[in-house]
Assembly symmetry: C2
Homo-oligomer: 227 residues x 2
């Protein structure tokens, strides 16, 4: 049961990120100060720094939240399941309007601003570290556990997830329509498929993914114009 103190802190924290995001939307990145955020959140400048070490950190909290959702999903998967299958399932869960919306917004803002994209980078890296931990627990069963295998796999999974999101933004511009989300879901599935097949050249077998991972293809996009 959360005490009064904890509730207050959580509320303040939320007020700060909300204010920061609102300013980001209205003024554009880099066009507001910590003082602006503090004023909007109804606290003092000094208090802001009790919660976040920088504007960047306040905004990055959003991305962290998104990626933490992914990690939670991953941990929920049965331990016996193949790693890539768990990763695929966890990633597909992210293609949900409520979950992906904040990230989509940040992403489009980040396109024009280097400061933002750097903090997103950091969030993805943090996620890699977390998934290495999760994977270590998962694979510990198999006695001797190769550190390189662990790290290379975790890093690649995150890279592929990131690549899928990048391509999605490229194609759909972060739109949240059902078709767009369906595309995202398929991209995430495909990227895991590529990873699992060792990036066999696509000319050999055009859609290996469909064969190896028969996921919810009911809503899948018809092969979109891969230009």
């Amino acid at each position: 049961m959360p005490s009064r103190r904890e509730l207050n802190k959580a509320a303040t924290r939320q007020a700060i990120t909300d204010a920061a995001l609102a300013l980001l939307r209205s003024n554009g990145p880099g066009n507001f100060t910590v003082e602006d955020i503090a004023d909007a959140a109804g606290i003092s400048r000094r208090t802001f720094f009790n919660y976040f070490s920088s504007t960047e950190a306040a905004i990055a909290a959003v991305t962290f939240g998104f990626l933490d959702t992914a990690l939670q999903q991953f941990r929920l998967r049965p331990a016996g399941e193949p790693f890539l299958e768990s990763a695929r399932a966890a990633l597909v869960e992210l293609a949900d309007p409520m979950t992906v919306a904040p990230l989509a917004e940040l992403y489009s803002l980040g396109q024009t601003n280097p400061q933002l994209s750097r903090s997103e980078l950091e969030a993805w890296d943090h996620c890699t570290v977390e998934i290495i931990t999760a994977a270590r627990e998962r694979l510990r069963e198999g006695v001797e556990l190769d550190e390189l295998y662990l790290r290379a796999l975790a890093g690649s999974v995150i890279s592929c997830g990131k690549a899928a999101m990048d391509v999605w933004f490229l194609r759909c511009g972060g739109s949240l329509t059902p078709e767009s989300l369906s595309t995202l879901r398929q991209l995430l599935i495909d990227s895991m498929g590529l990873l699992g097949s060792g990036f066999a050249r696509p000319d050999a077998a055009p859609s290996t993914t469909q064969a190896t991972i028969p996921a919810d293809n009911s809503t899948a996009t018809p092969p979109p114009d891969r230009h």
Copy 2:
């Protein structure tokens, strides 16, 4: 032929990064100011900012140089060669004392300091972008070119290279002895092998790498204690 102006600029640039690195070594990260760097490099504080936008950027130039070497190596590979083979070859070229030394030093300093590791992150990301470009040129031959394939592959290659270096630092602490470099070389080869095999569980075939990529195993480490 470089003009006097260009020579001066290059020299100043070099003086700045040298000074920054020296201060990093002597004072530790975060314990010196831009003014300190400028003084040591014999320029004014203001001029420093004409060259680099921050201390971080000045130091990141080193990592960028390292990764640019890798990219150069990649571009030198014959266009017909399989992508992963080119990547492997390019990465192995990095396991050279002169090339890897600055990165090893930065890495060990970065372990204790978040500011540093973040700029290294940025450099790796920049490298991913570059390798996507290089790969796009390479694969353009194969007419229709899947953006997801491209990005997922490039991202994974970089992730695996990074993982190999991470494990190397973990095992060898950035030592530059021939044995250590040989370990690094083997780790890089192994990580590309894992990627190429779709991360087939190692318990199935303990050392797939050796079979698929018969590289210069003459100097390779005997299977080190993979704890």
